[in-house]
Amino acid sequence: MEVRFTLNGREVSCSLVGSELLLDVLRGPLGHRGTKEGCGKGECGACTVQVDGHPFNACLLPAAEVEGRAVTTIEGLAPAPGELSPEQQAFVEAGGIQCGFCTPGMIMASKALLDADPDPADADIRHALVGNLCRCTGYAQIIESVRRAAALRGEGS
C-alpha cells in the first residue's frame, strides 16, 4: 500500500505495510525528525503535527489516514533557511524553551490555535495547550510565548 500526501508543501509518498503511524513514517522513511515521540499515547503532545490545519497526535494516527491531505510539521514553519516563523521566534524571545523536547509540539499546537484564533485570551491559550506537557518551563513562559507569537503574527500581516 502506498500513501501520498503533501508534507510541508511538497508531494511525498511512502509505502506502508498497514497500520504504521504517521509519527514513525515521518521520523523514519521521510527523515523528518523534528516531530518528537514522548509518551506515545496521545497525552504529552510532543508529536503534534497539523493535518489540513487541525492539530493531531502523530503517535496515534495511522499514516494511511493522511492520504491526499496536507501535513505540516515543525520543519515546515520557517519561511527560509536560517529564518524563523513568528511562532518559533516568539518561543525564543519569551523563553518558552528549555530542554526543547516538547517545543516542536508546543509550537505546532500554538500555531493551530493562532490559525483559528489570531488573538486568544490566556484562558484560550491554556485550553489549547492542555494536550502538551512541558517538564521544564512551568508553562508561564510558554503562555507568554504564545501571546508574543500572536503579536508577531499581527505585525507581519
Partner: protein, 286 residues
C-alpha cells in the same frame, strides 16, 4: 508497534463485507483508544478496518433534530454552529474532552463504543434522550443510549454491527442544561460528572433530567433524583432531598482517581449546584 493490516473502505457495505470476511478484525475510528490499548499490549486483532473514509459515517445533519455521524470527529462536530446553539450541554461536554489533538481524531461514536463509565459525551446525550442507530448484516436497529451500555467497556452492539449515528431530538421548549465535571487537571478524565436539564413553568419543575458519569459501571440516568424534583418547586428542602437520593442512586467504586464516598459526595453537590444554577435561569423570565 508492529503494523497490522489496515483497510480503509469508503462505503458502509464494503466495511461490513470486510468485517465478515476477516475473522478477528476490528473496526477503528479515531483510534485514540484502540491505538493506546494496542500499544499497551492488548490482544492484537487480525486487521484494522478504518471507518474514517466512509462518508455515511462522518456526515452529520443538524437542524431541528440532530443526526450525528458516529465517525465524525469531535472537532468537526464542535464546528457545527447549529449543534452548539441547539444542544449546548453536548458541545460543552465535548469541548472538555481531552485535548485539541485528541478531539481532532476522536469520534463521538468511539467515545460511546468504548463504553467507559467516564465517557464525557454520554451524560449530556442521556439528558437529551439520545438514540444510537446500529447497522449489521441483518439491517438497522435503534437503541436508546441508556440501553446501549452493558458494563464497563462493553456495549449491547453485536460483534458484526457498527454504530452509524447518534440521533438527538429537538430540546424540550425552554430547556436549560448544564454539565459539571470533576477532575484534577484540565486533561483528566472525570472523577465524577453530572449533566442536567430543567424546564420550569410557574415556579414548578416540569421536566427534569439528570445523568451521571464515572459513578457506576456505565453512564447512567438518575430517575429517582429526577422524580424527587419533577412536579415540585425547587425549594431548599426538595433540593436537599434530591441530593440525598442522588448520592444513594449512584454506585461508584474506589480507584486511582477517587474514593467511592468522595464520588457520592460530588454527585450530591453537583445535583444541588446544577439545580440551583438552572432554576436561577428561569427567575424573572416568568
Amino acid at each position: 508497534m508492529h503494523p497490522l493490516p489496515y483497510h480503509r473502505p469508503t462505503s458502509l457495505e464494503a466495511a461490513l463485507e470486510l468485517k465478515a470476511s476477516l475473522p478477528g478484525a476490528r473496526f477503528i475510528a479515531g483510534g485514540t483508544d484502540v491505538m493506546v490499548r494496542l500499544k499497551g499490549g492488548a490482544p492484537r486483532p487480525s486487521a484494522l478496518i478504518s471507518l474514517r473514509g466512509i462518508a455515511e459515517l462522518t456526515r452529520s445533519e443538524v437542524a431541528q433534530s440532530a443526526r450525528l455521524g458516529a465517525a465524525a470527529s469531535v472537532a468537526d462536530l464542535l464546528a457545527i454552529d447549529a449543534l452548539r446553539e441547539g444542544w449546548p450541554v453536548l458541545a460543552d461536554a465535548m469541548n472538555q474532552m481531552a485535548s485539541p489533538q485528541i478531539r481532532s481524531s476522536a469520534t463521538l461514536g468511539g467515545n460511546l463504543c468504548n463504553a467507559a463509565p467516564c465517557a464525557d459525551s454520554a451524560p449530556a446525550l442521556l439528558v437529551h434522550g439520545a438514540r444510537v442507530v446500529l447497522r449489521g448484516p441483518q439491517g438497522e436497529r435503534v437503541l436508546a443510549l441508556e440501553e446501549f451500555f452493558a458494563e464497563p467497556g462493553v456495549t449491547r452492539m453485536g460483534a458484526d454491527e457498527l454504530l452509524m449515528s447518534i440521533d438527538v431530538d429537538p430540546p424540550e421548549p425552554g430547556l436549560q442544561t448544564t454539565f459539571l465535571k470533576k477532575k484534577r487537571v484540565a486533561m483528566d478524565i472525570a472523577i465524577a460528572s453530572v449533566a442536567a436539564g430543567l424546564v420550569m413553568n410557574d415556579g414548578i419543575c416540569t421536566h427534569v433530567r439528570f445523568a451521571a458519569g464515572s459513578v457506576a459501571p456505565v453512564p447512567m440516568r438518575l430517575p429517582a433524583t429526577e422524580a424527587a424534583l419533577c412536579g415540585h418547586p425547587p425549594t431548599d428542602a426538595r433540593i436537599a432531598e434530591a441530593r440525598r437520593i442522588a448520592e444513594e442512586e449512584v454506585s461508584p467504586i474506589t480507584d486511582i482517581r477517587g474514593g467511592a464516598d468522595y464520588r457520592r459526595r460530588i454527585i450530591g453537590v453537583y445535583v444541588e449546584r446544577a439545580t440551583r444554577a438552572l432554576a436561577a435561569r428561569f427567575e424573572g423570565s416568568e
